[in-house]
């Protein structure tokens, strides 16, 4: 597809950005208007994302719908946007999830009485969500590394206010303790990610110096750098490449998050409201794994190869450690957070297995994990807001009282444990196959993660939903219409993509070929008949 003069990508990012400002400007008294405005904006963004997906030609150029403008010439920075197959599905995922996040958080930021009239938490909450959406979309679309970096870092600020400013009121030690924990979680989130980002900044500057030395003019354009590498104009020395890789990877590993840099995630997800937790794990963190695939592998193929053994081990540890800790959690949201760490381990595993199945699986995993975690977390959030407690022990027998809630919770949980027939199964299978074909031992160990996932999901379900009806649970209302509206489409997607993943794979597979050629890898030849081969 040829370049289009219409800046569709810019528009897709600009709509939520402008929407955020408009939402923030709504007067204090008109809270409902702010909510509707935010929802409307997010739906328009969804439509635009759908247009991108339709206009994207899977078998066309690597980057499509490209836009390129001069921005900060002194730094060699251009405003360059473009989508490849991976970015298309992730933008679609982001645009898809935000309306549900907004709907699910409809009442989360209503002011609680005695505040001054100038304090407008509701407007702030929805404006911040839209701001995060805009920034995430830009970082998926940016093909200029500096542009990516700017939004990768800048999104921390609205995220930080969302975590610190709008936590769960439900806390076992009362509201004051909740506020303290929340602010701790927000600061931890920010400092971890800021530290990662600043280390990356050093690497970004290093990349500029390298391109400046060798190409005559420093550039951050991904396409230019890839082209220069392919033409042999740009030769980064082994040591420099490894250092730059480490700088980039560190930031993405914090964001993803990979063990042992994961400790901010349980705090952040535990203390924030369920919709914000979904925003963190299903949307924002995806930028980390996406960037590993696009930037670490694309810019530093040899260093990626060099680091693979270590990264694979870290991914394995994440899978097992996350799952084991999930089993041990008393708090529902922290359980889901640790489950996510386990899942991010799978994604990183798929990326660094360096097979096309692994890459395709990792990309699908990002999407499916987003949807399944959103479903599970949002239903958990509905449950928590009813009972006012995050502790698993406070529940029991919910399925007798609120069968629809319990049923949707179960489907979300089963998706999380990758039940065949639901979407996550496809991606988890692809990741494991992709890993196994190159590293059989690691593939086998990773499979243990699936077993552990079954334990933490089913134990969670059993303790909360089955058994005798717990005190204070008896009068819980079932899902309301608004909540059904949030959960039903997500579940439909989980089932639909589980049965028929072809639309996604058709977009992702050709794109994965590019990332494979970046790292100059081809899939290992399958051993068709090992017995015969041994005889020959």
């Amino acid at each position: 597809m040829a370049d289009s003069s219409f800046p569709l990508l810019t528009l897709t990012a600009a709509v939520p950005a402008v929407g955020a400002i408009a939402t923030a400007a709504v007067p204090a008294a008109k809270r409902e208007l702010a909510k509707r405005l935010a929802l409307g904006v997010s739906l328009v963004t969804l439509v635009l994302a759908a247009v991108i997906a339709v206009r994207y030609d899977p078998n066309g150029d690597r980057f499509q719908l490209t836009e390129s403008r001069s921005w900060i010439a002194d730094f060699g920075v251009r405003y360059e946007l473009g989508v490849d197959g991976i970015a298309v599905v992730l933008v679609a995922l982001t645009a898809l999830l935000i309306p549900f996040v907004i709907l699910a958080g409809w009442h989360d930021a209503d002011p609680t009485g005695k505040q001054s009239s100038r304090w407008r938490p509701t407007q702030g909450f929805f404006a911040l969500i839209l701001a995060v959406e805009a920034m995430v979309i830009v970082s998926f679309l940016a093909t200029d590394i500096f542009l990516f970096y700017i939004f990768f870092e800048a999104m921390l600020i609205p995220m930080y206010f969302l975590i610190g400013g709008f936590g769960d009121k439900a806390h076992e030690h009362g509201e004051e303790e909740a506020a303290r924990q929340r602010s701790y979680a927000a600061v931890k989130f920010l400092l971890y990610n800021l530290a990662g980002g600043l280390i990356m900044l050093a690497a970004v500057i290093g990349l500029f110096v390298v391109t400046n030395d060798q190409l005559g003019a420093g550039t951050f354009s991904l396409q230019e750098i890839l082209q220069a590498r392919a033409d042999g104009d740009l030769e980064i020395s082994t040591n420099t490449e490894r250092l730059l890789f480490l700088g980039f990877f560190f930031a993405f590993a914090v964001k993803a998050p990979l063990w042992p840099l994961h400790t901010w995630l349980p705090n952040a997800m535990g203390e924030s409201t369920a919709p914000v937790a979904v925003l963190i794990t299903a949307v924002v963190d995806k930028v980390g794994t996406f960037a590993m695939l696009r930037f670490c592998l694309g810019l530093f193929p040899e260093a990626s190869d060099w680091a693979t053994p270590v990264v694979l081990v870290l991914a394995l540890v994440s899978i097992l450690y996350g799952a084991l800790l999930a089993i041990g959690q008393r708090d529902m949201k922290r359980l889901i957070a640790y489950a996510s760490i386990s899942h991010f381990g799978f994604i990183v595993l798929g990326i660094f297995a360096m097979t096309s199945q692994g890459h395709a699986g990792a990309t699908l995993y990002m999407v499916n994990h987003g949807i399944s975690t959103a479903a599970l977390m949002l239903v958990a959030g509905f449950l928590i807001s009813r009972r006012g407690s995050r502790l698993i022990a406070d529940y029991g027998g919910v399925q007798k009282v609120a069968p629809v809630l319990a049923g949707t919770f179960l489907i979300g949980g089963l998706a999380t444990l990758s039940l065949p027939g639901l979407a996550p199964f496809v991606s988890e299978f692809l990741v494991l196959v992709g890993t196994f074909s190159r590293y059989p031992a690691i593939g086998i160990i990773a499979t243990v993660g699936i077993v552990l996932a079954a334990i933490y999901v089913l134990v969670l379900y059993q303790r909360t939903m089955t058994g005798p009806v717990a005190e204070k649970v008896a009068k819980l209302p079932d899902l309301r219409a608004r909540e059904m509206l949030v959960v039903a489409p997500l579940i439909a997607l989980l089932i639909g993509l589980g049965v028929y993943p072809k639309p996604l794979t058709e977009i992702v597979n050709p794109a994965v070929e590019h990332t494979m050629s970046d790292v100059q890898k081809s899939d290992p030849e399958p051993d068709v008949n090992p017995v015969e081969a041994a005889h020959e």
Partner: protein, 547 residues
């Protein structure tokens, strides 16, 4: 005349050959306007009735600063910053890109400082008179009868405006000074008014006077070092002119004299002299280990003065430092670079670490300014053209952020005046979301978050440093940034996520003066962050020193 001693006044050529000094008034217009207005301001104090002085002084100061800024623009437009850069006033001053750029920044900061000085809406009305942040009668003993009488009479210290203009005049000369004596004179011209300004706070007067005395004593020490260093450099090279010293350092002086032949080989004179001059300048920029005065002075001085001092002094002093290192001592690059590396590293790290434990917002900003001095020094050590232009850009970005941040500090008040203790800022974001959000933007800019001017500036200096081969400095720089981020974030947490205290301070609604200062600071912060290209070009074009 004994051999081996330079003589300034060897009238070998006969007394009739001494020419009358030639002064290019047009090239010196910015400085002349400001200093002239300052003199006029003194006359106003002497002759204009007290009730008209405030209006007259504010009007004069704004006009002078704006006029001088116009003159700077006119000079820049006529190419004096690039192709037609030249030495003026018989070699005393350089009119070139860096000088004009920094003079422009200093004058803009100066205008905004006049606004914050002129603010009279913040302090409660005393005896029917609106008063500003300055003592009713600076000479009166704090708490004494004379002070009470002055307060009752509604006196105000309108002398601050001429003082501000004298300081600004000195700062305009400082980065343009092209010989060591002019450098020293400029230093004193801007330092002495600043010492006085520090002492004239309306509230907490003892603390203010203590700050002034500390600043004066330590400043006097550093001036002495600077002066001694100048003497040694003169002893080494037989000249105070930058270009001539540079020639001698490079080993090919224009005119060889027996005295020069004798002293030229004496590296001890050169190294010690250079180090002492550097020390004097590093004191003014607040680099570790010459930073001790910064927190006390920043805390004690009236906040508008602190804001002005933090912004403009740093701009002027870094300008002078750049010129010294790049024009006088480039031949000594291999000697000063390791030293400046060390100073930059300890400045970044110590500034960031000490800031963490601060509990007063003004002290916090003081330590933050130390850390910033370290980041700027990282750009200075680059010793290439990017080094100059990135430092220029950083200074512009930093000046507006700092002035804006201190202006916000003046707004947060309780019964005792400005509430600078951090615990009192708890929950400010809930009471006054707008003010807290603006302050948060300034803090984020200082932390170097993308889309703010702080990030663009930090990126520019780190890039220059990396290109100059100072990769370890960049790594230390990003680590220090991460540490620094912690305390900026802590203040934001306090403002937004803590419950407001019942007896906490309130935000006073300021007049249009302070609003303008804050708005301009905010606009500069965002514009330099989102669309920095124009200003980077400006700094890039201005990045060449004339010799």
């Amino acid at each position: 005349m004994s051999r081996g001693v330079h003589s300034l006044w060897m009238a070998q050529d006969g007394i009739d050959k001494i020419k009358a000094p030639h002064i290019e008034y047009d090239l010196l217009a910015p400085t002349l306007i400001v200093i002239g207005a300052a003199v006029l301001g003194v006359a106003i104090e002497a002759f204009v009735p007290r009730r008209h002085r405030y209006t007259a002084q504010v009007g004069l100061a704004v006009l002078a600063m704006a006029g001088a800024f116009g003159a700077v623009i006119a000079l820049a437009v006529s190419g004096k910053g690039t192709d037609e850069a030249q030495i003026a006033a018989m070699g005393a001053l350089a009119v070139d890109g860096p000088a004009l750029f920094l003079q422009g920044v200093i004058l803009l900061v100066g205008v905004l400082a006049v606004f914050t000085f002129a603010e009279r809406r913040l302090d409660p009305v005393a005896h029917g008179k609106q008063v500003d942040s300055f003592a009713a009668e600076a000479a009166a003993v704090p708490g004494g009868k004379a002070e009470q009488a002055a307060v009752k009479a509604g006196f105000t210290t309108t002398e601050v405006f001429p003082l501000l203009m004298f300081a600004t005049g000195g700062m305009l000369i400082f980065p343009a000074a092209n010989d060591l004596l002019t450098l020293f004179i400029a230093l004193e011209v801007f330092s002495l008014p600043l010492y006085l300004l520090c002492a004239v706070a309306r509230r907490k007067r003892l603390m203010s006077q203590e700050a002034a005395v500390k600043y004066f004593l330590l400043g006097a020490f550093s001036s002495a070092f600077l002066l001694f260093g100048i003497a040694l450099l003169y002893g080494y090279s037989g000249s105070v002119r930058y270009a001539e010293i540079a020639d001698v350092v490079a080993g090919n002086p224009q005119k060889m004299t027996p005295a020069l032949a004798d002293t030229m080989g004496n590296d001890a004179l050169l190294l010690i002299g250079g180090a002492m001059v550097l020390l004097g300048l590093l004191f003014k920029v607040g680099a570790v280990p010459f930073h001790m005065w910064t927190p006390d002075v920043y805390q004690g001085a009236p906040t508008p003065v602190t804001g002005y001092m933090a912004a403009a002094t740093k701009v002027a002093a870094f300008g002078a430092l750049l010129r010294l290192l790049y024009v006088v001592l480039p031949g000594l690059k291999w000697d000063w670079r390791p030293v400046m590396w060390g100073v930059a590293i300890v400045t970044m790290v110590i500034g960031a670490i000490l800031a963490i434990t601060q509990t007063d917002v003004k002290r916090l900003l003081a330590y933050s300014s130390i850390a910033h001095a370290g980041f700027i020094l990282a750009g200075v050590t680059a010793a290439n053209e990017e080094g100059i232009s990135s430092v220029l850009f950083y200074l512009a970005a930093y000046a507006f952020v700092t002035l804006g941040a201190f202006s916000v500090v003046t707004l947060v008040r309780d019964a005792g005046g400005e509430a600078t203790h951090l615990s009192k800022w708890a929950g400010l974001g809930r009471r006054s979301p707008l003010v807290a959000a603006v302050f948060a933007v300034f803090l984020l800019a200082m932390a170097g978050i993308p889309l703010t001017s702080g990030f663009a500036g930090k990126f520019a200096v780190f890039k220059a440093a990396a290109e100059g081969g100072a990769t370890p400095l960049v790594v230390v720089g990003v680590i220090a940034s991460a540490i620094a981020a912690f305390f900026y974030v802590r203040v934001i947490v306090l403002m937004f996520f803590s419950e407001p205290r019942p007896e906490g301070p309130a935000v006073t609604v300021p007049s249009a003066f302070t609003v303008t200062a804050i708005a301009v600071g905010l606009a500069a912060t965002l514009v330099l962050g989102v669309a920095p290209q124009y200003f980077l070009d400006l700094a890039g074009n201005a990045g060449v020193f004339v010799r």
